[in-house]
Amino acid sequence: MTVDLLAKYDPLIAEHAGLLATGIRDPFGIVMDEVLSPTQAIIKGKATILLGTYNYMGMTFDADVVAAGQAALRDYGAGTTGSRVLNGTYQTHKECEAALKDFYGMAHAMVFSTGYQANLGMVSTLAGKGDFIILDADSHASIYDGCKMSNADIVRFRHNDAADLEKRLKRLPADAGKLVVLEGVYSMLGDVAPLPELVAIAKAHGAMVLVDEAHGMGFFGAHGRGVYEEQGVADDVDFVVGTFSKSVGTVGGFCVSNHPRFEILRLVCRPYTFTASLPPAVVASAATSIRKLMTAHDKRARLWEATRRLHGGLKARGFRLATDTPESAIVSVLMPDQETTALMWSTLIDLGVYVNMSRPPATPAGVFLLRCSICALHSDEQIDTVLGRFEQAAQLCNLARNQAA
């Protein structure tokens, strides 16, 4: 007899079917028929404002970024068909790593095929048997998976809680290797980490520090390097991990560092070594985008302006938000339960607004969210349209709201 290995997912299959049986659209089955710009797509024939894409700096359709990709596609072909350590490193990959080194002002840069793999690879390779990984409870799945893949002992501290981090570090042997893993912006609630406190405690206990700046690159800090730059802890951060699939506008992941032994990681980091490298068009687009982001001061200012407009507008309309002030370019609306979240999400998509529906276990503490991410190219008119449609959807769904502020 054969045991059906998929039978363990029956409860989830039933739950998803139950959700769709209420007549709503599938929140996890959206298809973009046409993408008109970083902020607009056609979904099921309807012009839709995109407000859940992490395309913070709107680089996906940047003329220079597209042209660089086209030229590389023409000159180097569609793919490398190989690992970075065999036949998969082209001039384009080296230029992309050079752009990263310049952007971050660091000595070393390693490009992975996705952001997920960057965290998976770095976390699992840095810490081995006998070492400790100390991670924030709200860490991204890629960090948790990296922990699982390492043979280290895993210690979790309460989200953004410096005192809890210290208490847990004190329980560890003084002479053991330690890696503290933090994120600049936490992507579910859009809150920012108090890095100076956390990093100081990590350093005082002899830990090395890795900060994931996936949601901070491009618009935090004087050079757009991330929250760690803005909060002035660059000298105490050993490794910065990031992604090309947000502000950079394409796909890929990376780690930058000044560590003198960094280059050996190319040979021992399995998610780097045992997978094909990114297509030349992708890394050429990324390199061009990264260099443009160095000086994108106007776009940064515009992104914060649009974010404040959305956050303030939702708050004024009585929506409950995950952060009291806009801490990042993610604005998360707190929802009461799965049914209301799904209904609101579905109503918004019918009205022509795409946001992310987020639910446990992706979210912390069992919260349900409608998560918005803002783009520097969102116009004030688009934000105002979105606010109006949120208002309309809330009325249609009888969503309980705060008294208008």
Binding site: F132, A137, A152, I154, R156, K167, R171, P360, P361
Partner: protein, 83 residues
């Protein structure tokens, strides 16, 4: 409260507020199966036990700790080792 019986009794007290399904708790009650606790709740529970006895229970130990009895054994062992 550091003998096995004391540890076990205190663990039951820590679990009770998280026992959403009001399952009868015993040595063989399992967290995922019987109590239907999700992984985040289990991790929060572990953190409260760490603080209760000032010990460290690495997350990588969790796959081997399926029942209350197994957790009590592990906590008792860690407390004893601490001296």
């Amino acid at each position: 409260m550091t003998d096995r019986a004391g540890v076990y009794a205190r663990i039951l007290e820590l679990i009770e507020p998280l026992n959403a399904r009001k399952v009868a708790l015993g040595e063989h009650t399992s967290f995922a199966g019987d109590m239907e606790m999700d992984s985040l709740t289990v991790m929060d529970l572990v953190a409260s036990m760490e603080d209760e006895w000032d010990i460290m229970i690495p997350l990588n130990m969790l796959p081997d700790l399926e029942t209350i009895g197994q957790v009590a054994d592990a906590v008792h062992g860690l407390v004893a080792k601490k001296g």
